[in-house]
Symmetry: C2
Amino acid sequence: MSSRFDAIGFDADDTLWHTERLYVEVQTRFKALLAQYHSPDWIEARLYEAEMRNLPHFGYGIKAFALSLIETAVELTEGRVAGRDVQAIVDLAKGMLAAEVELLEHAAATVALLAEHYPLLLITKGDLRDQEQKIARSGLAEHFRQIEIVSDKSAPGYAALLRRHGIAPERFLMVGNSLRSDILPVLALGASAVYVPYALTWLHEAADPPPAGQPGFYELEHLGRLPALLDEIDRPA
Amino acid sequence: MSSRFDAIGFDADDTLWHTERLYVEVQTRFKALLAQYHSPDWIEARLYEAEMRNLPHFGYGIKAFALSLIETAVELTEGRVAGRDVQAIVDLAKGMLAAEVELLEHAAATVALLAEHYPLLLITKGDLRDQEQKIARSGLAEHFRQIEIVSDKSAPGYAALLRRHGIAPERFLMVGNSLRSDILPVLALGASAVYVPYALTWLHEAADPPPAGQPGFYELEHLGRLPALLDEIDRPA
């Protein structure tokens, strides 16, 4: 069967494996660490502010997150944070980097099945080494034609990537859980995108969904439904 | 003129632009920060130990360095490090990330000249976003056919990269300042390598030079000599 798509791209974090819950768990422990100083909501708001302020310097990923946690701890304790609490934060980051990769339900079967019919690309952002290690631990690497770890997911970034692989945007489909990073920039290029929401979304990745009836936009409850959706899109009219 | 080489790879940090001196400068300020606790030599030794211990977790780059500095500060003050000193360390890292890119002498002219005759690859390791920003600020990006930011520079890593670009190792030449990262793994594949030492070398990147007479190994005092070396290698015997 011929397909409308020459390649399918997959986001990784919270699309193929759980990630955001690690961040949420560490934030909970961070709020406990500072509980004598401030309310959980206030800590969360100031941390988010630090993350946004530091994004241009540090980019995405766990090391950037750790540095923002440390900065927030200094700020919210007016410099009285204990050395052992600073070390505890560094250790939380190491724990995140060493965490087991837990695949989402349907991820392994769907990726294995689709790899028989389409070239698959893995397109993810964050720390280079951390992402490489997670991809290796996931057991899914063999199904991907190419793995692309990028510093940001923007329309020009996707355009350059597709050009490099010789893929026309209208023959590309991206699958991911972030409207901001996986869906909207891809639709802007005239490519197709399948939004598979995850239970938790980092505020920074939140965005309004595309307008109703936007061509090329699909939403699925879970990855297990992706093969049937592709069959339907590719079915002769 | 036909060449022995189908592509030339360049390392970036301390090959095309100054980097190590930024690290040395920050270490000097770090030692001043902890001067009341320990001697400069002891601080330096413990910092290096922390960096090596953290390498498998954090990888290379400025954010990893910052986290190792913070860990060392906590350790060497037995937890008494002041919050403002922790923040000062985070600010040193931000200063490094924002630093101007200062090209090495001969780098701009040599790269521009060679780009007219060979496809050039930039192959560098470190933080993804930091390296991208330095490449953009360097003004040299346009001369490179492809930019590869990798998490480590090993023989298997180079082999995979060359395979991806369809370049036979014996038709590849790598230029760089690190024996460990730019020279030895490349020679191990049967490719050629030009070692251009930099005034400062991070202990971790130090290695013994290849044995005298090792085929494909060249050493130059500065990049300005590279075009003449290539002419000589490619001259019909």
